[in-house]
């Protein structure tokens, strides 16, 4: 069917229905799921594919699955080729076959029409636990993927309408959080079933041929829009660099290099990294692809659709098989969706910022968190708790806008919620001592980073095990286009325990600890990176930040060159002029 023959009304309806299908799957997961990573961190993605499977629509969900949901769906479709039936529901989590990391479990339902496969409806959800040595699935001691809990290759949990009770029981029986995980799997199944119902409604109304013609046009439109965006970017070869910190197994810092080549209406992104590590910091290609796409679309109009057509214009090379960003079995990878994900995005953004400085977006705080687990003294049931407020550092600034406070890693980009303190205390045997913004935690710039937080909690009536995971403890989030990320204790993650006897115990990353009542866990996630020279930040904006306690009087003078009277909080105009003009000859970077 030619482009001309498609009725614009039908096209709009098909597009709108695909969008509302992904949205509706998200609502079901949002409102009915149990795992904190799912219900609060909202660590899920929803998408619709055609029979291909080519991705037609991805929900406004978390970016870390941008590429992974495509590669998982392709792997599952390939595996079951010839055995795909109406009423099937597939399930999958294996990084070796297109998955991201094991906690991300994908439910897929083939949708049939006129006896042929027409759509795949897919959702990817991070579940509480994957079994294995360490609660929550992030094992800092793992040297290979076998130490990270169970692996689910492409399987069917529902075969021609019959639920595979045995298979579901095997999965939920392998994890600590059996009841919650069963509830989460039901939510995933509910979501794909709703999606199938809606798509059948669409097909009933317009017929398969018309819907197929619209799909082709939507993919073409996605490609046209993406190519137009790229064509408007200056041609050239741009290089970006970023760093990943030590993995706890003595890796030392790892360098990531990215080369972006823009030619006409297409671009190529090439990644280089060291050989894969014997720790959980490796990336299989699905996660690397997600990170590259996120880095690129940062510089693209947000209205460009995120479908397979749009991605046709972007070539990707992950580096040689067996390198850190293109890992092969049996590499461990449980941290990959945040580390090195965050650093990959930063390398791509760094390269892109050289082509388009006025669209620059600085780095967000990296992922560094703790997972608590113990039997709840009130019920005896084991809980697995992610201390989310303690990991939510500031978002990166963008050209023209300060960063958002407490956004957490760029891998979730604002999808993750901290949760209400009261709901957390209601659900878990914990007491919160404080949760606020932390002064001076953001990197200074014409547009400063969002602030990080200060957070302290204590177990009530029981002893608990805590694993400390992640990175962002050595390097502050990177700043761009004339701003620097001055190293400072408040600009990296800090964590310690104040024991009941008053002694303070600093917590290294990649470690395990125990807490009893009276022991208080403290976490200070850092602020985000900045954009632009801080001495160009309007004096009034600096003064407002000081008045609001976001920036101290000392830092206002030292980093922004703005002199403020500590008692009246008024600006000393003359001293400010002197400071800012004296600094004008020096580079901004500290």
């Amino acid at each position: 069917m030619s482009e001309r023959a498609i009725d614009p009304v039908t096209l709009a309806v098909v597009n709108g229905t695909l969008r509302s299908v992904t949205r509706e799957m998200g609502i079901t997961l949002d409102r009915t799921s149990r795992s904190p990573v799912l219900k609060l961190a909202r660590d899920y993605s929803n998408a619709v594919f055609d029979a291909g499977p080519r991705q037609l629509m991805q929900g406004e969900d978390i970016p870390v699955h941008l590429g992974a949901i495509q590669s998982s769906t392709r792997a599952v479709a390939r595996y079951f080729e010839g055995e795909i039936h109406p009423g099937d529901i597939m399930y999958h989590n294996s990084p070796a076959t297109g998955g991201s990391h094991k906690p991300d479990c994908t439910a897929l339902k083939p949708v049939f029409w006129d006896d042929r496969l027409f759509f795949w409806v897919v959702n990817n959800a991070h579940l509480s636990d994957t079994g294995g040595t360490v609660p929550g699935g992030y094992n800092p001691l793992a040297e290979d993927m076998y130490a990270e809990g169970f692996r689910i290759p492409p399987i069917k949990i529902c075969d021609r309408g019959i639920m595979r009770r045995d298979i579901v029981d095997m999965i939920v029986g392998s994890v600590r959080t059996t009841r919650h995980t069963r509830g989460d799997m039901r939510a995933q199944i509910g979501a794909v079933e709703l999606a199938e119902k809606r798509l059948h409604g669409l097909l009933r109304r317009y017929g398969g041929d018309t819907v197929q013609a619209c799909i082709e046009e939507l993919l073409r439109a996605g490609e046209r829009l993406m190519r137009r965006e790229i064509a408007a970017m200056p041609d050239g070869v741009y290089e970006g660099v970023s760093w990943v910190e030590d993995d706890g197994h003595g890796s030392g810092p790892s360098r990531i290099r990215c080369v972006v080549e823009i030619r006409g209406d297409a671009m190529d992104v090439r990644m280089e990294s060291r050989p894969q590590l014997s720790s959980y910091f490796n990336c299989y290609s699905a996660v690397t692809a997600s990170a590259i796409l996120l880095g690129v679309i940062t510089y693209v109009d947000p209205s460009v659709p995120r479908n397979e057509g749009a991605y046709r214009a972007i070539g990707m090379d992950f580096g040689p098989a067996g390198s850190m960003l293109n890992a092969v079995e049996p590499a461990a990878c449980s941290m990959s969706t945040t580390t090195p994900f965050d650093s990959i995005v930063e390398a791509v953004r760094d390269a892109m910022s050289k082509a388009l400085p006025h669209r620059a977006v600085a780095g967000s705080s990296h992922m560094c968190f703790s997972i608590w687990s113990a039997p709840d003294p009130r019920s005896g049931e084991v809980y697995v708790f992610s201390a989310i407020p303690g990991l939510m550092g500031g978002g990166g600034a963008s050209w023209g806008l300060d960063g958002w406070h407490c956004q957490g890693t760029v891998a979730t980009s604002g999808a993750m919620l901290t949760g209400d303190i009261e709901l957390t205390e209601h659900e878990y045997p914990l007491h919160t001592h404080f949760y606020e913004l932390e002064t001076d935690s953001a990197c200074p710039g014409r547009w400063r980073g969002g602030l990080g937080g200060r957070y302290a909690i204590e177990p009530v009536g029981h002893e608990t095990t805590m694993s400390s995971i992640g990175e962002g403890v050595q390097f502050p989030p990177p700043s761009l286009v004339g701003a620097a990320s001055p190293y400072d204790r408040a600009r990296v993650h800090r964590r310690w325990i104040v024991r009941a006897d008053g002694t303070r115990e600093d917590l290294p990353s990649h470690s395990l600890a125990k807490l009893r009542p009276g022991d208080v866990y403290h976490a200070f996630p850092p602020g985000g990176g900045a954009v632009g020279d801080p001495r160009e930040r309007p004096v009034e904006a600096v003064r407002d930040d000081v008045r609001n306690g976001l920036v101290s009087v000392e830092r206002a003078a030292a980093e922004y060159g703005v002199a403020i009277d500590p008692t009246t909080l008024e600006v000393d105009v003359e001293a400010t002029r002197r400071r800012r003009s004296a600094a004008a000859g020096r580079p901004a970077a500290a």
Partner: protein, 685 residues
């Protein structure tokens, strides 16, 4: 019944409805005067009196109830013109208002700013105190902190204070004591305690709601004082009531205390207006669609009760008190049609607003809107003047459609206009889908009521879009909410947090909570002149499976509580969960988070006088005009009728157009239109 007046103040127009003692209905529409609302109210009242005709004083002497809907609270929030507000929080938790649970609405837009925080950080003052989740005092209230805060507040010229402490709903002693100290130290300053506004678990929702209440409270208080003074000066002796977000009305004294409940004042009157009309047809499951100039408001009503939502974001500010669940989409007469760079046609959500308005208004607009498409298609009378001032310019409407849509897509002008017409209908249908299908209801089981100035043009095709063969268009469509205001009952909502498992909760404890709320409600209604016999009570349970963070709602009438009745409520919860999310977990534990009570004071029902039936004969058209119908493959010369000359029982077969004072009802080919009481019914032949 004595006469009633409904006054609905909108951004552009203020609508008036009068139902007189004989049940006759009068309408008026005047241009709003936001700086001086009394002026537009005066003009509208004069316009009503002129229709009787009678002097204004005589009209007011016959009225016992004036109900007022106003966007004053909402506009103060949207335009950031609320009171200078301070917030007192538990020390160590000063920033929940600004952190917003870390929620960012658009995560793929890196240049999307957070909403302005209503209380800047230096006005958020920490107070040392802490209550535990059990309601015990962990850290006693440090009163010196409160005195220091009061001094700071006086120094900074703050007009309003919100107080929200952690777990205060479990033990309100600290908040209450702070309220006493502030009242003594800062007389005249508006103080909002979270335990009064929203005594429920979730400190972010509670803080945000209390802050919004404090932020709009003083503005609303001044407004209500001005309205009451104005009516008193006119010698009016009856009651003045205000429309609330919960679709009920309340006295000035009540709404000023809970100003946040006035945010939805206006659109929330659509369900009562719809229910009034649907009574005649014995329907209590209805959908109302109010399509105005900039947007379209959709509400779903089941069993005569509109859906209420809690925890929604109103212009990005979290509101925890129940509001009529109005689904607003950018699908109005002013919604702009455009072809994107990928060659795809979109309609809205951007709107041409009142200025410049649609291109066809001739006020400088060049982008084609839905109204322009309607003009090109002949659905809107091009000889109409709007508000007696604006003459339509069909040439400009056509030019906009041609240049921005028809030419880029290589379509004929009428075909392009029809595409715009259909896409906006589809957008509205999707909004209906969101409140029905996405919540487990089939829209075809609901009677569709379409209103607003633009709705009657689109009514039939919207009905087709959602698969129904019949649609209802009230004659009062252009003043639908003003009418809804005069037929609303008095209503108040209360809630308490429970947070306990359904299988272990003590029915007697629940009974005490309900009794407490019902008592509070009866007192408020009593002060508003409602006799006890006219009070109705609905109870509400917010339940979820253990481990979830959102609840489903089950409502029941008042009645004795036993372990058995709680089990029945659990069973109903499973059913609600199944219909919403396609599954239920009968093997899982349920917990009750909040309970609530709605008390309704029923007012005497309004009855409209019927038009006299006329003996025999089909109606005579007053003219004809060319109208585009796809079914006929082009433009057809179609008869035009005057709505005010139609008699009950007369039928008109499409294609035809019926002109009302401020709107047009389009009867498409294959449809039959009939006036039934105060409602046009359009149905497939």
């Amino acid at each position: 019944m004595r006469a009633r007046i409904g006054i609905d103040v909108g951004g552009t127009f203020t609508d008036f409805v009068l139902v007189d003692g004989a049940g006759r209905l009068f309408e008026a529409k005047v241009v709003s005067t936001p700086g001086d609302p009394a002026r537009s109210i005066g003009e509208g009242l004069e316009a009503l009196a002129a229709q009787l005709p009678a002097p204004l004083a005589e009209l007011l002497a016959s009225v016992d109830l004036v109900v007022h809907g106003s966007t004053v609270a909402l506009n103060a929030l949207i335009e950031q013109r609320g009171a200078r507000t301070a917030l007192l929080t538990t020390a160590g938790f000063r920033d929940s208002l600004e952190i917003r649970l870390a929620w960012k609405e658009k995560r793929y837009d890196w240049r999307y700013p957070p909403p302005p925080v209503l209380v800047p950080r230096h006005l958020r003052l920490p107070i040392r105190e802490r209550i535990t989740k059990e309601g015990e005092v962990h850290t006693p209230l440090v009163e010196e902190d409160v005195h220091a805060a009061a001094r700071e507040i006086r120094r900074l010229g703050v007009e309003s204070i919100a107080v929200c402490f952690l777990w205060s709903f479990r033990n309100p002693a600290h908040e209450r004591r702070v309220g006493e100290i502030l009242a003594a130290e800062l007389p005249g300053v508006y103080v909002s305690l979270s335990v009064d506004v929203l005594p429920e678990i979730r400190e972010y929702d509670r803080t945000s709601t209390t802050v919004v209440n404090a932020y709009v409270g003083p503005i609303l208080r001044r407004y209500v004082e001005a309205i009451e003074t104005y009516f008193a000066a006119l010698g009016y002796r009856g009651a003045v009531r205000y429309q609330q977000s919960n679709a009920g009305i309340a006295s000035g004294a009540e709404i000023v205390k809970k100003a946040v409940c006035a945010l939805g004042s206006g659109p929330a009157a659509a369900p009562p207006a719809g229910l009034f009309h649907s009574r005649r047809f014995a329907q209590d499951d209805i959908l109302t669609v109010d399509m105005g100039g900039t947007s379209c408001d959709v509400c779903l009503v089941r069993r005569g009760q509109p859906d209420l939502a809690k925890g929604v974001d109103v212009h990005r500010y979290r509101i925890g008190v129940p509001m009529i669940d109005v689904n607003t989409v950018g699908a109005g007469g002013g919604s702009i049609a455009f072809v994107d760079e990928g060659g795809i046609l979109h309609v809205g959500p951007r709107s041409a607003g009142a200025r410049p308005g649609p291109a066809g208004y001739g006020l400088g607009g060049v982008e084609p809107t839905v109204t322009d498409a309607d003009i090109v298609l002949g659905y809107v009378d091009a000889s109409r003047t709007l508000g007696g001032r604006i003459g339509l310019r069909p040439d400009l409407a056509r030019r906009a459609v041609h240049e921005r849509v028809a030419a880029p897509l290589a379509l004929a002008d009428e075909v392009a206009a029809l595409a715009i017409f259909k896409i906006v209908n589809n957008n509205m249908a999707r909004a209906i889908h969101e409140v029905s299908v996405e919540r487990g209801y089939d829209p075809r089981d609901f009677a569709l009521y379409v209103a607003g100035g633009c709705g009657p043009v689109h009514a039939w095709m919207l009905a087709r879009e959602i698969g129904v063969e019949r649609v209802f268009v009230p004659r009062v469509a252009p003043a639908f909410c003003a009418f809804g205001e005069v037929v609303s009952d008095v209503r108040h909502d209360y809630s308490r947090s429970v947070a306990g498992r359904m299988d272990t909760i003590d029915p007697a404890r629940l009974g005490r909570l309900f009794a407490e709320m019902e008592e509070e409600g009866s007192r408020a209604l009593g002060a508003e002149g409602i006799a006890p016999a006219r009070v109705e009570v609905t109870r509400r349970y917010d339940i979820r499976y253990v481990g979830q963070i959102y609840e489903c709602v089950v409502t029941t009438p008042r009645g004795p509580l036993t372990a058995q009745s709680l089990r029945e409520i659990v069973e109903r919860f499973h059913g609600v969960h199944q219909s919403l999310y396609a599954y239920a977990e009968r093997d899982n534990l349920c917990e009750l988070i909040n309970v609530g009570v709605s008390v309704t004071g029923k007012l005497a029902p309004v009855d409209l006088a019927e038009r006299r039936a006329e003996g025999g004969g089909p109606p005579a058209p007053i003219g004809a005009r060319p109208v585009y119908f796809e079914e006929r493959g082009g433009t057809v010369d179609s008869p035009v009728y005057a709505g005010d000359r139609l008699r009950p029982g007369q039928v008109i077969d499409g294609p035809a157009v019926v002109e009302e004072k401020a709107t047009s009802i389009v009867a498409f080919p294959g449809t039959r239109l009939r006036l039934d009481g105060a409602t046009y019914v359009l149905a497939a032949v």
